[in-house]
Each structure stands twice: as C-alpha cells, then as structure tokens.
Symmetry: C2
Subunit: 249 residues, 2 copies
C-alpha cells in the first residue's frame, strides 16, 4: 500500500473523514467476500495471497485499484488486530427511503444505539430474518465505523440503511398506516402478539431505552416476557427475540 | 487499598491466580449490588462514596474487610476502564451437580465457548429465562474472568455454574432420561418443537459449533429457521432465541 493510500485508509478509521469522503473500509475474508458479491462500489481492494481464491472468483468485478499486499500492511493501516486476507475502500451507499409498498412486513428502527458491537450484531440479525430496511436515528453510533462493519459478518452489504430524523420519518410512515411498535419493559407480550399490519419495531438505547419523542408516536409497546430475575436484556439480544417472534407469524 | 490487597486483586485478573486462590473479583455498582443480595462469600469490598447507599442497605452483611477507597484506586487495580463504585474479592462457589429431579425443564451446556462477552451474555439470558443450571466444558473461557462477570449484569450470582467433562456428565444425564438437544444449522425447527421432557440444550463454539464427541450423544438437533441471507447467528443471540422458544412452552 503506497503512502497516499495508507493515509487515506487510516483516515477512514475516523468518522469525520468517512463523512467528508463518503467512503468506508471493509476488512477480513468473510466481509470482503460478501462485499464482492454485492453491488457496492469498491474503489480499491488490497489483498494477501490467502485471498487469491476469492479474487479469482470475482475476476470480472470492476475495481479501480486491486493490489496484493502483506498481512503486516493490513494490520498497520486497518482496525483489525490481525488481518491476513484483505481490506477494501468502498463508497457509502445512499438508499432512497422505501415507500409503504416497498417496506417489508417488519422493519427496524434504532433510537440512539451507541455500542458498535450491538449495532453490527443487529444488522446481522436483520439479515437472518430477511428484514431489508433499518432506520437509524442520527444519534446512533456511526454504522460505517470499521468495528460495526466487522461485526455485521457481511450483512452491511444486504441491508438498506437509512440515517434519518426518527420522529419525522416514523411519523410519516405512521400516517401512511404503518404500525409503530416499541420494545419496552411493559407492553403486549410478544408471545401473544398477532397482527398482520406492516410494522416498524423501535429499539431504544442501551442505557435509556426509547426516547420520549419517539415513545409519544408509538402505536403499541411490546415486551419480551421474563421468567427469571435478570433486570434486562442486551439490546441486540432483545432485537433477536422480537424478530424471531414477529417474522415467524 | 494497601499494597497487599492491591497485589492480591491484580493477581486475580489472571486465571492462574484465580484458580490457585479460589477467588474472583466483582466490579461495578450493578454487579456489587447483586453480589450483596446473594449468598456468595465476600472476603473484602472496596467502595467509593458513590456506593454508600448500597453499603448502608446491606449493613448487616458479614464482610471481613470493608474499606472506602477512590475511583482511581479501583481503576488501577481492577479490569474496568472506569469504576466509581466498588470492587469485591469473592470466593468461587462450588455447586453440587443437580440430580434429575433438581434440574429445571431447560438447562444449558456450553461446548468450548471462547468469547468472554458471549459467555457473560449467555449467563444473563439464562437468568432472564430462569434457567438455573449451566454446564461448561473445560475448554470454555474462564467464567470467573472479570470481563465475563462484568457482562453478566449480576446473573453470575444467581446461576449454578458447573465446569465439567461435558461428554461424561451429559451421558450420565442422558441415561437418567434427560433429553440432550444440540443447536445446529440443520435440525428440528424450534418454532415447531414441542416436548415436555426435561432437556439440556448444548450450544457449540463460535467457530466450530458442537464438538464431535458431544454431537455423538445428542438425542436431537434443533435449529433456528432462517428467513434471509446471513450465514449464521452469534452464539449468544442463538441461545436467546432458543431459550425464548423452549421456555415459553
């Protein structure tokens, strides 16, 4: 990796630079494979010989700069502690807001989710349950941070991510007849919840739950029944259980 | 914290020392509160003024050494990046193996789970679903490591943890008529699973799933139906979804 690219890539570890240049980095074998399979625009891809088989499989793919490099160079410039496969610089995609018709039966909205690992894991869960659209409040941790992307295990390449003013956007959908559900400690037991309306499930922040402004526009609160003594569940865990209950219906 | 205790506490950050002295550390307000509420034997508790209300509430509790200290001292000696509440040294409890009668309807067994965050989160999930017994293979990450304890959010104080030879112990339970279930990519759809037998659910390692020896003694494999494209779910996420499905029945 030459000096110019090294500087570029290291810059993209910072949110400010990602925003300015509208690009992010993707690291590691699994994520690079999923990236190559997607329609995202790859500006450059640095890879080690260990990734040769993947590079060969996607030989037709248009990539401006495709360069072999060493694991040391990937480690020095990226965010992973070890990386013996590859690192790509990718354009941040812009998704148009889905119409009511385009929305699936279940979508997710995250209100102020701060932990990168939680955010990445939630994208992975959405991908498992075929949830195509996720709405993120502007206060959520940056979804294009390397740590988030790494923990999505490729899901970043398949989910339409919308960073929005949550109250405005959800209000619009509500007016169109989309049901707004909010995960809370008290609400309708999800084991008994049955409703065929298209819905968006709001998950609140790790420390404060759903913010008041968003809470005020919800149609209904839903809750995961508790059988034991734990006070709460982690937000990614709660998202998974709720998705499993809503998507199966 | 005097020099002797400082050395003791720092030592307990290492697995070797925890094993030798049969003690572990508990840090942070929530975990200390749950610790005080439990029957675990607390050897010493160092606390800041911010924990005064909790200390007052448990004034009757027998604790050999109870000392006020500073957040700086807690940070220097413990594992948390910041800790303005407290740190305790606690005896590692020894739980006797439950008989068939003592086992709840659902128990968990973890085969080679390596990530401390995953292990702690799984204890928290078990606590939510009132699962009282968890069996850990000897290859699992040390459950008394500070990072695991921290992520249990107090659940460590309510769950009976058994570190065992998984094949031997599960075989014994199987002979007594306990059903051994294993989470796998192919198996009975947990959405349709109905069975009133007492069961132990085995969750495999993050990278290799259930080991062959354990797989060979399972009664049945169960699986979480996939609706989208993600290749897998994180082991803590999968545990939560399975518990939600089995415990509700």
């Amino acid at each position: 990796m030459n000096k110019r690219w090294s500087k570029e890539v290291r810059g993209l570890l910072q949110k400010k630079k990602r925003k300015e240049s509208n690009r992010f980095i993707v690291e590691g074998r699994k994520n690079i494979e999923e990236l190559l399979r997607s329609n995202l625009t790859i500006e450059c891809l640095f890879y080690t010989e260990k990734l040769n088989d993947v590079i060969d499989r996607y030989a037709d793919k248009k990539i401006e700069i495709l360069q072999e490099t060493t694991p040391e160079s990937l480690k020095q410039n990226g965010h992973l502690q070890t990386n013996d496969s590859g690192l790509a610089v990718v354009q941040i995609p812009k998704f148009s807001l889905p119409t009511k018709k385009e929305l699936g039966n279940v979508s997710l909205a995250l209100d102020n989710v701060k932990d990168p690992g939680n955010l990445g894991t939630i994208l992975r869960i959405a991908d498992w349950y075929n949830i195509k659209n996720i709405f993120l409040s502007k206060e959520c941790t940056d979804v294009f941070a390397p740590k988030v992307i790494a923990s999505t295990m490729g899901a970043f390449s398949r989910i339409n991510i919308h960073i929005v003013d949550l109250v405005d956007q959800l209000s619009n959908y509500k007016e169109e007849g989309i049901k707004l559900l909010g995960a809370d400690m008290i609400g309708t037991n999800i084991h008994n919840y049955k409703d065929d309306s298209k819905s968006i499930v709001v998950m609140g922040s790790e420390s404060h739950g759903i913010s008041e402004d968003v809470e005020n526009i919800l149609n209904e609160k839903i809750t995961i029944p508790r059988f034991g003594d734990a006070e709460s569940l982690n937000v990614a865990i709660a998202t998974a259980i709720i998705c499993d209950n809503l998507v199966r219906n």
